[in-house]
């Protein structure tokens, strides 16, 4: 098991190196100039030249890359041009917000998708199944950012149930040690703060979760149908268990295995989805940071953020791989 984890981590190194090279070259080849974004039009050519030199942009791409990669290996991803702060510190201060949002959204998606699939399976061939199918089809046909905008209009403005922006109520100071404010406030039993943070997270998280939930519901429902046709499910009903029991206690775990492999990839789209959703809800995570970085042509920040996303994708896929062994005893001794 440990050797498998290590070998997977080793495999990740060339992937990350490839991503680094690709991003480094891409952001320099596409039109757009970070220095032009900083200074008013018609500025002195001397000032421009000095700024280029200051950020090392006057050197050839290869030299720039060697310098950047050398520093990156020491954990230093340079200075953000637009925010004038270290990229590493900036990312680490905003990453917890995104991780908590993604974790909350993924949990919601699994719960909602699972509930829909179980309900649709219980009422297979009846009206209940048709409702589930219609609902998942509708949810899937609307992208996450549209759900976000719809929620702002619906539950932020017309029926103001939830705050529409930010991560917490700014009117009081949190006084927390880490940036994982949801987790920390919960562990410190300051549940008033936790509730406030959850209220802020609800709309962006639901917007992110809905398409994933619908995808999970579809895949899980069809693999549940497959499992319910197996003899063990029939036998369990002969033993005297209710349909609900057979679905939840017998079939669900076996149906989860193909569902994890088919929808697991979608979780990485969830991370990608944070970029737009965080911007819409002014949520201070790395997604909204990424949009600002792109708008300002902040090359070091873009590079650092994309590598962060790449690491997240790799870690999520690794976790998914190992969850199979947890679900399927046949894979444990292999």
């Amino acid at each position: 098991m440990i050797t498998r984890i290590l070998s997977r981590l080793l495999q990740a190194i060339p992937t990350l190196a490839g991503v680094a090279v690709l991003v480094f070259v891409l952001v320099r080849v596409v039109p757009g100039d970070p220095v032009a974004m900083m200074i008013p039009p018609g500025a002195d050519a001397d000032v421009v030249a000095r700024l280029y030199a200051q950020y090392g942009l006057d050197k050839p791409i290869l030299t720039q890359f060697v310098i950047w990669a050398g520093q990156a290996l020491h954990g230093d991803f340079g200075m953000s041009i637009s925010l004038r702060q270290g990229v590493t510190g900036l990312i680490f201060s905003r990453l917890p917000a995104t991780l908590e949002l993604v974790a909350f959204a993924a949990t919601l998606a699994v719960l909602l998708g699972g509930a829909l699939a179980v309900f649709g399976t219980r009422y297979a061939g009846r009206a209940g199944e048709a409702v589930v199918d219609g609902l998942t089809g509708f949810i899937l046909s609307v992208p996450d950012f549209l759900w976000g905008l719809a929620f702002i209009v619906g539950f932020g403005v017309l029926l103001p149930l939830f705050p529409i922006s930010g991560r917490n109520d700014p009117s009081y100071s949190l006084g927390l040690a880490s940036d994982f404010i949801l987790t920390e406030s919960f562990l410190r039993l300051r549940w008033g703060v936790t509730a406030d943070i959850l209220a802020h997270m609800t709309m962006p998280a639901v917007a992110l979760a809905l398409p994933l939930a619908a995808m999970i519901a579809r895949v899980l429902k069809s693999s549940l149908a497959e499992q319910m046709a197996q003899d063990y499910a029939l036998l369990s009903r002969v033993k005297g268990f209710s349909r609900w029991h057979v679905i939840v206690a017998e079939a669900l775990r076996n149906a989860a295995i193909p569902t994890v492999s088919l929808t697991g990839v979608q979780v990485t789209f969830l991370v990608g989805g944070t970029v737009l959703i965080e911007k819409i809800f002014s949520y201070p995570g790395i997604g909204s940071l990424a949009i600002d970085a792109v708008v300002n042509r902040d090359l070091p920040l873009i590079q650092g953020l994309i590598l962060t996303f790449a690491v997240l994708f790799i870690l999520i896929n690794l976790l998914l791989d190992f969850s199979y062994a947890l679900l399927d005893p046949r894979l444990r001794h292999g």
Partner: protein, 266 residues
Amino acid sequence: MSEAALTIKNLSAGIARGPMLLHGVSLSVAAGEVHGLVGMSGAGKSMVGRCVLGILPAKVAITGGSIRFAGQELVGMAERQRRRIGAGMALIPQDPLSALNPSRRIVSQMTDVMRLRLGISPTEAAARALALLHEVHIRDPQSVLRRYPHELSGGMRQRVLIATAFACEPKLIVADEPTTALDVTVQKQILRLIRDLQRSHGTALLFVTHDLGVVAKICNSVTVLNAGRIVEQAPVAEIFGQPRHPYTRALFAATPRYDQPGGAVG
């Protein structure tokens, strides 16, 4: 003839807005008797078993007739009550691989039914499961209980399922082609095991099979089904002595005879 454990009268079933699968099937299984239900694939023999057990596929429904078990009419009974009556029934399924849940240990798959039906504690149920595994001649039952289905051979899995079927002392067991998925040497042992247990527990058995050789070994009486209709019904000795219906004779002709080399159908 002793009192019937199961009486089916004029049972009809079909697919909703589709073809009929069973046309007025009647049969009765006396207490402690083995009744064979024979026919080709698609003859509806398994469907009869599923009607009795109350596990019809979603689109299939009973359209008429009666199934009486333990003095009660099962056709039209509410599902909740039906589940309670089901305590007196059990199933030995066809495919021992798919009839065990791959992600649950043997012990939990054997004891769940005892805890539900007999209301006994997990410890008591585990002790009873151990005794049952002894009864079906499984070696080292203690370790088998802890294993997952994929760690057992086909024959062992079928023994586990047979043990589970007898766990709550049912009055009636439906055996749905219990030896079809096994290889020939194991088939014989499993068949003998089922017959021995059936005799010692005094259980009535509805034995669904397409194999007349199996019928001769284990059954007291036979119903021959073709396309959802009964074509012949008689005690085993009679039907093997002189099959009346042409379809039964055709079934006999199609059965390989192991005592006549070269006479077998390929």
